[in-house]
Symmetry: C2
Subunit: 306 residues, 2 copies
């Protein structure tokens, strides 16, 4: 993806993809020796002050008109605002512990809206025992923005990233994909329980949560793992009413995508079915050699600013 | 401050002060057993995974049209966005370590603006050795919002909060107050070095950073400490061109306000003058008995939503 320049020579944000923008920006920012996984992965993982656990840090936001609408139920807005960063904790197999909430909102909004939004936030935080320890509010003339930062931990020998997938690994997704913008994106449950169970019982080589659609996210995992990928389109598990195209490009699934050695596949599928009988686990393909080029080019998922 | 209700019975945010709103909201949110100081103080302080240090967490944001203007130099916007939460680390005498940045911005903005804004963020982070380990960007149709979350640590025997001030304590402020909106609010330096030196050498009973103006912030410290206060208005150190009224109600000073036992005052003032010869330290008054009522009612500082 090569940025186009406008006639005046001033590139605008919408002419760049979000991945490219983040890459460009993060080169400017100081990292440090204690960073285990920094920007570019689902959550940052850093060496804690002591002990065997690592600190895990993630921030995410929801914006009115982008992630929810003016008439979306405020309880659902709050739920989504908290659950989005928690889904990144699932992606790295970490335990969330503390949350900070920043609310940017115009003075003309009803207090009742804010109260109900916080009820949704609160319900989501309680579900995963997250203590909300602080926050900030600011006025704005524009759309509501809710930014949630979550801090937690993961054992040194248990964190997973997008990197680490190996050629030949089986690719799995939890649940079903596509058609999520009808309702599911407002009341999804991050796969933290499932992710923690996976890393307690299997060697997961690479993992991420599907937030921008399989078509955008899988190439990111493959790139970080320095592999190619092969997806059997007909094997992609679909939500009711979703087409394969929709499942690939839809975004906001918040399901897990992960890679395990093929020899583990059978035991994984059997154990999963016993442990999580209500949630499907589907092998959708495998990671391939990088040099063979991807045998199937996925149509792009949702890319911010485009 | 009692909320007024509009004729329809629907209270709007602008009818509540920010303190009242935060109080109302945080009652809804789950806290936990590991929280040492939660919402309501400058930064949250929680028990870390191990060791003698506590984790310190703070999020803050800047909003276009509220904290900076469309034509503000982007380097200064980035500097301010990072330095605001760092000023709260000064307030509790903590050491910042990691930062997460959320940028909400319209696709029509120039990439150059964003690059220069990140240069300012980066310069501010480097100054206090903060590793920026992650971030998120989102599109918006409204004003730019930059939310920065900072994570760090403080020794168990060294953190300070707004509570803990005692009747009779001397009240000090660093630097000079007022008239900050001309320039200083865009290039201030949080008093982290000074705060760490203070707690290494003196028993600071209560401390905070002045962000909403002495007139709004001092009553918060007094309330948290369950004391009254007496300020000698003529002793308030003024920036060039600032009136006393302006120094009291102006906001965005980012200086430290703190309380120490009167018997420490002399040694503090002498040591300070040797250690920080270029930065003034001024005794502006003292904390009094709560029951005597405040002998001087300060005009209110900047209150959000009003």
């Amino acid at each position: 993806m090569k940025p186009r320049r406008s006639a005046t020579g001033r590139t605008r944000l919408r002419e760049l993809g979000e991945d490219l923008l983040l890459q460009k920006l993060f080169r400017l920012l100081p990292a440090g020796g204690r960073v285990v996984r920094g920007s570019g992965d689902d959550a940052a993982i850093v060496a804690g002050p002591a002990g065997r656990d690592l600190l895990v840090l993630k921030t995410d936001c929801v914006v009115e008109g982008v992630h929810f609408e003016r008439n979306t139920r405020p309880q659902e807005v709050g739920w989504k605002a908290m659950m989005r960063p928690l889904s990144d904790f699932a992606a790295v197999s970490a335990v969330p512990e503390f949350g900070l909430v920043t609310l940017v909102i115009g003075g003309g909004r009803e207090v009742k809206w804010v109260t109900q939004m916080y009820q949704g936030l609160s319900r989501a935080a309680r579900r995963f025992r997250v203590s909300v320890v602080g926050g900030e509010t600011s006025n704005t003339s524009g759309p509501v923005v809710i930014s949630v930062c979550v801090i937690g931990r993961v054992e040194k020998d248990r964190w997973v990233s997008r990197a680490g997938g190996k050629s030949g690994d089986s690719l799995f997704v939890t649940g079903r994909l596509g058609n999520t913008l009808k309702r599911k994106h407002l009341n999804f449950i991050p796969r933290i329980i499932e992710s923690r169970w996976l890393t307690a019982n299997f060697r997961v080589h690479a993992m991420m949560d599907l937030s921008d659609g399989l078509g955008a996210d899988l190439p990111r995992l493959a790139r970080a793992s320095e592999t190619g990928f092969h997806v059997e389109r007909e094997s992609i598990p679909l939500n009711r009413g979703a087409s394969v195209e929709n499942a690939i490009s839809g975004g906001e699934d918040y399901e897990l995508l992960f890679a395990v050695a093929p020899r583990e596949s059978k035991r994984l599928q059997n154990s999963w079915a016993r442990k999580f009988p209500k949630l499907s686990l589907t092998r959708i393909g495998y990671l391939s050699q990088r040099s063979t080029r991807n045998s199937q080019l996925l149509p792009g998922g949702y890319v911010h600013f485009r």
